[in-house]
Amino acid sequence: MFKHLFKLIWNKKKQNFLLMSEMLFSFLVLFAVFTLLVYYYNNYKKPMGFEYKNVWVVNYNNAYKATNTDSLTQFYETLRQNLKALPDVKEISFCSDNVPFSQNTWQGSVNYKGNPVGGVNQYTVEDSYKNTMTAELLEGRWFNKGDVAAKNRPIIISSDLKEKLFGNERAVGKLVGDGDQPGHDKNAMKIIGVIQGVKAKGDYAPAGYAVYHRTDTGSFHSLGKIMVQVTPGATAAFEARLYKTLANYMKDSNVEIEHLTSKRKDINYFTLVPMIVLLIVGGFLVINVALGLFGVLWYNINKRRGEIGLRRAVGATGNSVSSQLITESMILATLSLILGTFFAIQFPLLNVFDLPASIYIVAIFCSIGFIYVLVFLCSLYPGKQAAAIYPAVALHEE
């Protein structure tokens, strides 16, 4: 049966070649769209890792031009007291510029037992950071005052980095190096805790690897942000008051207050808009291809009335005729899908774009399924029409 169908396809190879190349390109386009969708969806369903509602970010710069570390610390500690005295402020934490949902990134590497990992986000935070951000501790503990005297610099790592370095082992208590060249580290760092990874670049981006460092006495020289957790009912009037407090205290600084909720909206927007454009374009291409397939199959069946009439005359049922036509187009689709999958499988094999292989595999299966459904639907109606051909009428025409 299949051998016969192959022969039929081969006899019309010129026309089928064009159909097949059309299916092949649609498959490749669908593969690209699905890869992106699966990637975004995978990231989207992972937890955010912190509570962004009711958290504001204060941007400031070189507020106090003292080189003396003691007076600098004194300056910011007074600011901290002033801010915490405000009624709606629940918790504040000074931190490095790479706050969640901002464009700033600061990356470095770590190594464990001669195994370097690059692209690790480096955050400098205070003891109060965990409560300000409602971060979720999975293992160990958060920083506290006792860490000042620690022999090895204490760090907290994100769940993704823990998995990469240690797999299922416990991470707490292990020592890691702070560079990508094992043996050249200035000093080893000791992991004291693991937190759920924070999706710092929005809902659709991966949490990625992260190392949190505790602020030390000189840190105020380089910090530029204050995270402020406020009570849920904080109003714009309160924000104006907070702003005045900050601006009057830090006279030499530019001050800006942003809300994490709106920053999240902005950063998601940058992912969503290209995705929507891509979906519209992809959808249009699919409709286009579907209409084309439908038209060509329909025409082919009209041209093969004689052949179909003859089959009916020698005893084929309507169903077997329509299933023959549908199977024919499915075989065509299979041939182009085999070729398409060959190209698509190169992505996980060659590790292009550094995405997990599972995303590509899911995308390949989605696109294969999609093409099959599309071809099936497009050949359903022409097949049904062929089944309705009366042998006497069809044969009479010749």
């Binding site: 059309e22 109003t235 714009a236 530019n254 001050v255 291409l285 286009n288 038209g295």
Partner: protein, 409 residues
């Protein structure tokens, strides 16, 4: 003759309405996508408000310091432009402006996010902002460090509400009161080198930019030559100046910075090895190719189907002595008529799509329009489409044997 072909084409189009619909759908939607894309690119990089002197200007958006084990890249410092840039011979004016930064202001318990930008005096001589009222601050005001500001129309509406004139009034931003000297037509944020809500003299900044002697900072520079003929000379002079810069630290082995035409500096990717313009063009061409390839294949498919349907007509014409060339010519003309018809629908659809996009106001002040360049590109694409999807089917048709063609029916 052409009139005849035209008649036949219309007759064929009306015969199989479903196929006509598929063809027109494919052509018009592809064209719409491409037209909207070109309108967007044209607006983002081709719009010359407010820098109308682009033909004799060069832009510096970035400086890169290369170390042995890495690089640091970003906008340049005020000092670089003010000290080194202004010492160049060819540029008649050097406009210096900071990138826009955010701050807040609070009016009647309402929060307004404000982007501000510091500029020097030359900036206002080079840029030709449309002032709806007032004028730019003067060099004298900059030297005196007067607290004055030029604001955008959007800012005026948001801060002052619907009032006729605001020149001379005070606007508070970043906890400082500035006197408004002028209001300019807003610029979309995509023109990142000239966009801002409030423009301020660089001398009123809370940090003194002149003291910072490093090369990297947050500033963009615009160099204006006397005529467009001087531009290459200015480019070379700037390159030369960069090459002669003393190294800031001993780790730095090379400094890169270029004074480039607007588009080049606009897409500067921040990497010396990979030019931004190559990346942008590659990405756009791959996208355009994919968008065009599928509908073209589809059209070829449909066209072949339609031609085979007309085999008897072709057989008769061949039997009466029409050469293959004539038939191919006829068919291509018919196909071009079809694509142009699709193109017409595509242009109408594009106008609708652009209206919808402008209505959605995705990027404030970015008003997309269908201009003549875009329309020309569209027509060219259509013509190309018609040829591409017509040649192969026509060639197949001309190969048809007279006897089989006549016998088929």
């Amino acid at each position: 003759m052409l009139k005849n072909y035209f008649k036949i084409a219309i007759a064929v189009l009306r015969r199989r309405k479903f196929f006509t619909f598929i063809s027109l759908f494919g052509i018009s939607f592809t064209l719409t996508i491409l037209l909207v894309l070109t309108a967007f690119i044209d607006k983002v990089v081709g719009d010359s408000y407010p820098d109308r002197k682009r033909d004799r200007s060069l832009y510096v958006s970035r400086i890169q310091l290369s170390m042995k084990d890495g690089r640091s890249s970003g906008p340049a410092s005020f000092y670089l432009f003010d000290h080194y840039g202004r010492s160049l011979k060819t540029p008649v004016k050097v406009g210096i402006s900071s990138g826009f930064n955010g701050t807040n202001t609070y009016v009647n318990n309402k929060k307004i996010a404000v982007n501000y930008k510091y500029t020097n005096g030359d900036y206002w001589d080079i840029m030709e902002y449309d002032f709806t009222e007032g004028k730019a601050f003067t060099k004298q005001q900059i030297d005196n460090a007067d607290k004055v500001a030029v604001i955008s129309e959007d800012m005026k509406r948001e801060y002052f509400g619907d009032v006729p004139s605001v020149v001379g009034k005070y606007i508070e931003a970043d906890n400082v009161k500035y006197r408004v000297t002028g209001v300019v037509k807003s610029v979309p944020i995509t023109s990142y080198m000239v966009y801002s809500d409030i423009y301020l003299p660089y001398t009123v900044a809370k940090t003194d930019f002149r003291k910072d002697k490093s090369y990297q900072g947050g500033f963009f520079g615009v160099f204006l030559a006397n005529s467009s003929a001087d531009v290459p000379k200015m480019h070379a002079e700037y390159e030369d100046m960069i090459n002669r810069l003393p190294m800031p630290r001993k780790e730095v082995i090379k400094i890169y910075s270029h004074a480039d035409p607007y588009i080049r500096s606009y897409v500067d990717a921040g990497d010396e090895q990979h030019s931004g313009i190559t990346i942008a063009i590659t990405a756009i061409s791959i996208f355009a190719l994919l968008v065009m390839l599928l509908p073209t294949l589809n059209l070829v498919n449909i066209n072949i189907t339609r031609i085979m349907e007309r085999s008897s007509e072709i057989g008769v014409r061949k039997a009466f002595g029409a050469s293959s060339g004539t038939l191919v010519y006829q068919f291509i003309v018919e196909n071009i008529i079809l694509t142009l018809l699709g193109g017409l629908i595509g242009v109408i659809l594009s106008v609708v799509a652009l209206q919808v996009l402008n209505g959605a106001n995705l990027i404030p002040n970015l008003v997309l329009t269908l201009n003549f360049t875009v329309l020309g590109i569209g027509l060219l694409i259509c013509f190309f489409f018609g040829l591409l999807s017509g040649v192969y089917p026509a060639w197949r048709m001309s190969k048809l044997n007279v006897v089989t063609a006549l016998k088929a029916q």
